[in-house]
């Protein structure tokens, strides 16, 4: 894998920011797009643009074909059993909201319980509060230790006969931890409890096989894996999706409508109300093809090398606290310069052309766990280089000198 060649696929990376070559290390927030993805969007609008499904004309058929082929691509990419299990959403947040709404409506009664991990993104907490807690369900929290590893031995004691679902992230967007999802799913299934896996931060780093994992639901975001924004996936086992009521009503998700009774479309369209983001779906197809061409294992290996290199170099600076010391981590490095506020560090790095994220990263419970206002987060993608890590390290040194002397 030749990184310098790959970088040429990403036109945005060659620009200068405040006079410096851009160092983009905010990949956990969103990834940059390769030229092929940009071209696919342009081509769609210049050649195929038309609304999908039920159009009798040529362009509508082509657009539908692109959309449905994208669904098949996703199905193969995560090894789902059938296309019925792949629901297009606008992102993983909408995927989780869809599930939280439908699942709560169907299965949650007052006094029921949900288990959610302490390291979840707000997107895997708030929807459950909105829909399940409001129906009288109780949210129980699976804690993590100071290394950022979930305390899986506590899981058994949290499970009761009232537990209806376990919601857990595959990879922590703040700590980089790769959770032992298989173990959680196995334990949950011993008690016949379904599991939702938030894979927004996993799909771009790890091979995901939903049949091997045996997860019941999985949420994905396209823009985290080099596709456009506004496209995501809710995967669900067919037996659940068949039972669950739709989330939103509108076009495309119905079979027959009358004022007395409406019947819903077959899966997966039952959950795709309104005009779908078919351009985004096409871009996701292109992005997944791109990742397949490089190989997710190659990407993962390169990113791991970057993370190890960065972790060592940042530690060598001294006076830095790293958050997230799990044995199994993806390329997310969260840290603070001791005695300095994360926001100040981020602002100085920005003026050096280095894009990182600062703050709570939509994981306030993690900040509460460590009693900190936030962290600086550098996150690496397939196109990042060791030279860029060096630039980050120099930037941190500079910020440290300015802020704490």
């Amino acid at each position: 894998m030749n990184i310098n060649e790959l970088r040429k696929d990403f036109p945005i990376l060659s620009q200068k920011i405040y006079g410096h070559n851009l160092v983009y290390l905010d990949n956990a927030a969103t990834t940059q797009k390769p030229q092929c993805v940009l071209d696919s969007v342009m081509k769609f609008y210049t050649v195929y643009n038309s609304n999908i499904h039920r159009g009798v004309h040529y362009l509508s058929e082509k657009a539908t074909e692109i959309y449905e082929n994208a669904r098949l691509k996703v199905k193969d990419f995560i090894n789902a059993k059938s296309r019925s299990e792949i629901i297009f959403t606008k992102g993983s947040t909408e995927a989780i909201n869809t599930l939280a709404y439908s699942f709560s409506l169907k299965y949650i009664k007052p006094g029921d319980e949900l288990i959610i991990s302490e390291m979840e993104h707000h997107s895997n907490i708030v929807p459950w509060q909105l829909y399940a807690q409001n129906k009288g369900a109780v949210i129980k929290v699976l804690p993590f230790d100071n290394n950022g590893e979930l305390l899986l031995d506590k899981l058994e004691s949290l499970i009761t006969e009232k537990t209806k679902i376990i919601c857990v992230t595959f990879v922590s967007n703040t700590l980089g931890t790769v959770n032992d999802i298989e173990k959680i799913i196995k334990k949950a299934h011993e008690h016949n409890i379904p599991v939702l896996v938030d894979a927004a931060q996993a799909i771009q780093h790890l091979k995901i096989d939903v049949q091997r994992l045996d997860c019941d639901f999985l949420a994905l975001s396209g823009h985290k894996i080099y596709a456009e924004t506004g496209i995501g996936i809710l995967y669900g086992k067919e037996k659940y999706l068949e039972e669950l009521p739709p989330y939103q009503g509108g076009g495309d998700m119905i079979k027959n409508v009358s004022f007395e009774k409406t019947t819903y479309a077959e899966l997966p369209l039952k959950f795709e109300a309104g005009t779908s983001n078919f351009v985004g779906a096409g871009s996701l197809h292109t992005a997944l093809d791109y990742v397949d061409r490089i190989g997710i294992e190659n990407i993962s290996q390169h990113e791991k090398q970057l993370l190890d290199y960065a972790t060592n170099k940042v530690e060598e600076i001294g006076g830095i606290t790293i958050y997230g010391r799990a044995k199994n981590k993806v390329s997310v490095l969260s840290f603070n310069v001791d005695g300095a506020h994360n926001y100040d560090v981020g602002m100085i790095l920005d003026k050096l052309g280095i894009a990182v994220r600062t703050g709570q990263h939509c994981t306030e419970p993690i900040m509460t766990h460590f009693s900190i206002p936030g962290t600086v987060r550098a996150s690496f993608a397939l196109y990042n280089t060791f030279e860029e890590v060096d630039r980050l390290v120099e930037g941190i040194k500079r910020a440290k000198k300015m802020l704490v002397g």
Binding site: Y18, H341, L352, M402
Partner: protein, 141 residues
């Protein structure tokens, strides 16, 4: 000095700095020299919660009819900008604080710090300064 005279003075000072980090160095220096507000004044009532950094603001009306502001932040660059805001608005009449347009932050290239999406508490702080001025003005009447 009037509010605008102070604003112009600040713009003049910042014209010496061509490099971004030199501006930040100066803001850090200002932040460090800003008179601290006491811990017991850092109450929930006085906090302006941002997602990125937090700001505390306290105001009182002096006997001469001008307003005196005390503020703090947990982020030092934010605090430096606060020091500038205090320099501009301190010891001014409420009416003048209400009526004056704040332009120096834009002129010295720091307007990005006032973007609502930054959530560093600064935009809300400026609003709060004006609310205090409005309240003190009403009180005087």
């Amino acid at each position: 000095m009037t509010i605008n005279e102070i604003q112009n003075q600040i713009i003049d000072e910042f014209s010496d700095y061509e490099e971004w980090l030199d501006k930040y160095e100066y803001l850090i220096e200002l932040g460090n020299s800003l008179e601290m507000i006491s811990e017991d004044q850092k109450t929930p009532d006085n906090i302006i919660q941002g997602c990125q950094s937090r700001v505390w603001l306290v105001a009182k009306l002096d006997d001469d009819g001008t307003v005196c502001f005390f503020a703090d932040s947990d982020a030092i660059i934010t605090k430096g900008i606060i020091a500038l805001l205090i320099r501009v608005f301190n010891h001014q009449k409420p009416q003048d604080i209400i009526n004056t347009e704040l332009y120096f932050i834009d002129k010295i290239g720091l307007s990005e710090n006032l973007s609502p999406t930054r959530a560093n508490g600064l935009l809300a702080m400026i609003k709060q300064i004006r609310y205090y001025a409005l309240a003190f003005n009403a009180l005087k009447k």
